[in-house]
């Protein structure tokens, strides 16, 4: 049984006069907080090089300390690693299988290889699997990795024609073979445009789970979307695939902020891309502070031809780690509003 704490009046000498009503402020700059207790260092070997990193670091962080380029897709600095894409796998001595660098914690004496034949094969295959089943046209990072690892996604055959307009996955294909091996199955499907702020093109979705994390407990706590279905039929969905306006979505757009493939996209960007007027190379990025409330989120305005075309927020921004709300993300139209005083 826990000992009962004394009542607050007994603990604090409120009855006595305070000895000093004000604490004198020392002159000079505000002192920095005391440094955090140093974490124990862990020593491991990566590609024959010894590296010391703080305890609790991941293999990915150890690789980055050494400047070893490790591809990642489902990893993002401001979210917990879910290690589902498996493109960051490395070889760990003594382990039967490869291990994901993004989530595996360092241990003393680990021996890691990041460029063995086994690692290269797995990374290439993962990239080929994705590029052969998903439209990666707006995922430049993935394309670059694909080239770097020599992937040839077309070797699995021509892409299967998209499924009929029927919502995928409402009926499990079960064991009736949907394939004859002549074509490669894809997740192709029509774009979902059900609101004015952003579109969802799940034919570009690699199921990295990031949008679900951002919508859920890691940022917005709204839980409007979740992974539904199973296997190749898995997909990001609202309940019963209802359109976003009928769902719990609050249009914070944090899912767009974390999407690595352009499957989730500002409606403004989507429309410009459709019209052929989207020119990323011409765009200027300007950081500013959101004007709406006192939180003070940093906004990065993407400006093309003197027009704001989308808004992002830096991941290393202290206040909200790259996450925004509907106003900061989508509420920029007033900048060029007609009635605005110049």
């Amino acid at each position: 049984m826990e000992k009962k704490k004394p009542a607050i009046q007994e603990r604090l000498p409120f009855n006595e006069p305070a000895p000093c009503p004000t604490v004198p402020v020392p002159p000079g700059p505000i002192p920095a907080p005391p440094p955090a207790a140093p974490r124990d260092q862990v020593t491991l070997t990566v590609d024959d090089k010894t590296v010391r990193v703080p305890e609790g670091s991941t293999l990915l962080e150890a690789c980055r300390t050494l400047g070893i380029d490790t591809p990642t897709l489902c990893y993002l600095e401001n979210l917990n690693p879910v290690n589902v894409c498996r493109v960051c796998v490395v070889e760990l001595e003594g382990s039967r299988t490869l291990v994901p660098a993004c989530s595996r914690r360092v241990e003393n004496g680990m021996v890691i290889r990041t460029d063995s034949e086994r690692v290269r094969l797995s990374r290439r295959m993962v990239l080929e699997f994705l590029a052969s089943s998903v439209n990666v046209s707006t995922a430049p990072e993935l394309q670059a990795y694909l080239e770097q690892y020599g992937g040839q996604p077309e070797r699995f055959g021509p892409a299967a024609p998209p499924e009929a307009a029927e919502e995928p996955g409402t009926e499990r294909p079960a064991v009736d073979c949907p394939t004859d091996g002549r074509t490669a199955a894809t997740v192709a499907q029509p774009v979902k445009i059900d609101n004015d702020l952003y579109i969802r093109d799940y034919s570009k979705c690699i199921l990295c789970y990031k949008c679900v994390q951002a919508c859920g407990e890691e940022a917005q706590n709204t839980f409007a979307i979740a992974v539904a279905g199973r296997g190749f039929d898995s997909r990001i969905s609202t309940e019963y695939s209802v359109p976003l306006p009928d769902s719990a979505c609050v249009y914070c757009g944090n899912c767009i902020g974390v999407c690595p493939t352009g499957a989730l996209m500002f409606k403004s960007e989507y429309d410009m891309r459709e019209a052929g007027t989207w020119k990323e190379s011409d765009q200027e990025r300007t950081d500013t502070i959101c004007p709406y409330c006192g939180v003070g989120c940093t906004l990065t305005l993407h400006v093309q031809e003197n027009q704001i075309v989308k808004v992002t927020s830096p991941l290393d921004q202290e206040v909200t780690r790259g996450h925004l709300c509907i106003k900061g993300r989508f509420g920029w139209q007033f900048v060029r509003g007609k009635g605005r005083k110049k």
Partner: protein, 623 residues
């Protein structure tokens, strides 16, 4: 979190289905979201799966009104609950007829008459799943139903106020249609003697199957009259540490497929008691490996044995709460186990003050809902907790972070039912049977082209040939083409490898694995390419979809197999290399054991290409 529930409200049926699990709605009582995050074991989220079962069997599908009501009761976002429900094969997310016939067309049934049944049903009811909801009856193809010894098998389910499920094996199309035609009345399944499943029934020398057929499975009295709860009393006498030492001494290893030393898990969970007072026991009875039915036979024919074994494990490791996760396709096992638990509780063998001592342990039964992946231990935890059955990354291992984040002892049914013997006769004497690396006796599941299919118990060490002989030799044409051991995640062996000792070390020596101890011979009439394609389709269906290597790899593997077997002549040259690479990335980079073994049987068959006449036939163009 503000719960946003829009759309349909529940009708009376939907409400009563949810209330049957959660109790009637009490005004103002809503579970806090905080509780779910901080103390998941005290939250009610883990009742989501039972609630979904109640909805599906009452309404016939997971209707929006019912799901919304369940979400408001459990304080769950509808999108998340939808994602969970949509994960499971036995739940329908759109209206469907009240009666559903699930016809197994997996490998064992495929060679013993399933295609004919499917054809007849398709003739009467149209393609699988096509029937209109109002028609009252539809049929679906199903992965292995675990009734392989009596193939072909089928499971009929009827939703409604009095829902029922009934497994029929051997099944005939007319009998299935007759059963499903009257969804109000549960059909009387024709009695099948237990000797059909356990041909060795009554023979001397059996340990695990000793009592099968000799007791009434429902009767606690029979259990007590035949030595029941002696082992528990003995275990209490010995005390936890001594029991664990006996299990260590027995060198018992897990029978579920991974062959991990059971004693080490027990010890780890016991040791964690000082830092983690709350720990859990989980019995993995989600037996879904195609060709496996040994656990089903134990659960159906000797349920109290499993309940007592779990109690011993709980008492020895200090877990006060056990979960028994039974595969959804085993209605009879679920019924008998639930009954046995109620009886045991009533007579003081479960609950608080077991045997009138200061010991408490209780068991909750959970039904799976049609997902092979939930046999993976961490996926099983997620499934119990009310999440999608997606495996977790390891480490941390279940003995450190398991069910509800607590240290958890998870054992397979067959592993656990070895324990009473170990407690009664001592670990050393248990280890005296079998080989040094594989102690004790083993249950083997013989099906396919074999004289007398069934579960066989033999001391470890028997060769594959002697097992086949025990089961009446090669059936079918009598000329053996090959044997699949270990199930869909296992290995094909050729007739030249029949002298392989069926032990963990013996199979490992030839690059195979005992797995779940499936032994499925195929005669020379079988088109093995059909079998391989069925295995590939199985993994494509059952992959949880979480990681890329398995989600896409299982699809590409199936496509490449089609090309290999003559679907596309152009692709043949590349197909073997592609299959090898697909196999490698799945076994190297997938998250869990499903992905790691999804190519194993296919690769093993291709490696014995020249020895299997049925592979060279290629695909019959008629198929």
């Amino acid at each position: 979190m503000d719960l946003h529930i829009a759309g349909q409200s529940p009708d009376r049926d939907e409400r009563s289905a949810v209330d049957s699990v959660l109790g009637p709605l009490q005004a103002g009582k809503v579970e806090s979201y905080h509780l779910q995050q901080e103390r998941p074991d005290r939250s009610k989220r883990h009742l989501l799966l039972p609630v979904l079962h109640a909805i599906n069997s009452r309404v016939g599908w997971i209707s929006p009104g019912a799901l919304n009501y369940a979400c408001s009761r459990l304080n769950l976002p509808p999108a998340e609950a939808f994602g969970v429900a949509d994960f499971y094969g036995l739940f329908s997310m759109k209206p469907r007829p009240r009666a559903v016939i699930h016809v197994c067309d997996d490998i064992a049934c495929l060679i013993r008459g399933a295609p004919a049944i499917c054809e007849q049903l398709a003739g009467r009811l149209g393609p699988p799943g096509a029937a209109e909801p109002s028609s009252g009856l539809t049929w679906l193809r199903s992965p292995c139903l675990g009734l392989c010894e009596r193939a072909p098998a089928a499971l009929v389910s009827a939703a409604g106020p009095k829902p029922w499920e009934c497994a029929l094996a051997p099944a005939r199309a007319d009998a299935l249609l007759a059963a499903a035609d009257q969804p109000e009345h549960r059909p009387e399944a024709p009695p099948v003697p237990t000797s059909r499943s356990v041909p060795q029934q009554g023979q001397p020398g059996l340990r695990l199957l000793r009592r099968v057929g000799r007791l009434q499975p429902e009767s606690l009295k029979d259990h007590l009259a035949q030595g029941g709860y002696e082992a528990l009393r003995r275990a209490v006498e010995l005390g936890p540490e001594r029991v664990i030492r006996e299990v260590m001494d027995s060198k018992l290893v897990g029978r579920g497929g991974a062959a991990f030393p059971a004693g080490r898990k027990w010890e780890a969970v016991y040791r964690a008691r000082s830092s983690q007072p709350v720990r859990y026991l989980v019995c993995n009875a989600d037996e879904s490996e195609p060709g496996t039915f040994k656990d089903r036979v134990i659960m159906e024919e000797d349920p109290y044995l499993l309940i007592e074994s779990m109690t011993i494990a709980g008492v020895a490791t200090g877990c006060e709460r056990g979960f028994l996760y039974v595969r959804g396709e085993y209605p009879l096992a679920f019924e008998r186990l639930s009954h046995a638990i109620r009886q045991a509780r009533r007579h003081g063998f479960l609950g608080k003050r077991i045997l009138n001592l200061d010991l408490s342990f209780d068991i909750e039964v959970r039904r799976g809902a049609g997902a092979y992946i939930c046999g993976e231990e961490t996926a099983l935890f997620n499934s119990i907790e009310g999440y999608r059955g997606e495996p977790r990354n390891k480490p941390p291992f279940p003995t450190e972070v398991g069910l509800f984040g607590r240290p958890t002892l998870v054992n397979n049914v067959e592993t656990l039912v070895n324990v009473p013997g170990i407690v009664l006769w001592g670990g050393r004497s248990f280890a005296a049977v079998g080989t040094p690396g594989s102690t004790g006796t083993k249950l083997f599941c013989l099906s396919g082209h074999v004289g007398r299919p069934g579960v066989y118990e033999v001391p470890f060490g028997a060769s594959l040939a002697s097992l086949l002989e025990l089961a009446g030799g090669v059936g079918g044409s009598g000329r053996l083409q090959g044997v699949l051991i270990g199930g869909a995640a296992g290995t094909f062996l050729s007739p030249r490898e029949l002298d392989t000792p069926m032990t963990f070390e013996g199979t490992r020596a030839i690059g195979a694995a005992l797995g779940s101890a499936v032994v499925m011979p195929f005669d020379d009439s079988v088109d093995l390419s059909r079998i391989l394609l069925r295995i590939a389709a199985f993994f494509r269906d059952e992959s949880c979809g979480q990681c890329v290597p398995c989600r896409v790899g299982t699809v590409r593997q199936e496509e490449a197999l089609f090309r290999l077997f003559g679907g596309d002549v152009q692709g043949i040259g590349q197909a073997p290399l592609q299959l090898a690479e697909i196999g490698q990335v799945m076994s190297d980079a997938s998250i869990c054991g499903l992905g790691h073994t999804a190519s194993s049987a296919i690769q093993s068959a291709l490696a014995r290409w020249d020895e299997f006449s049925g592979l060279r036939q290629g695909l019959n163009p008629d198929h």
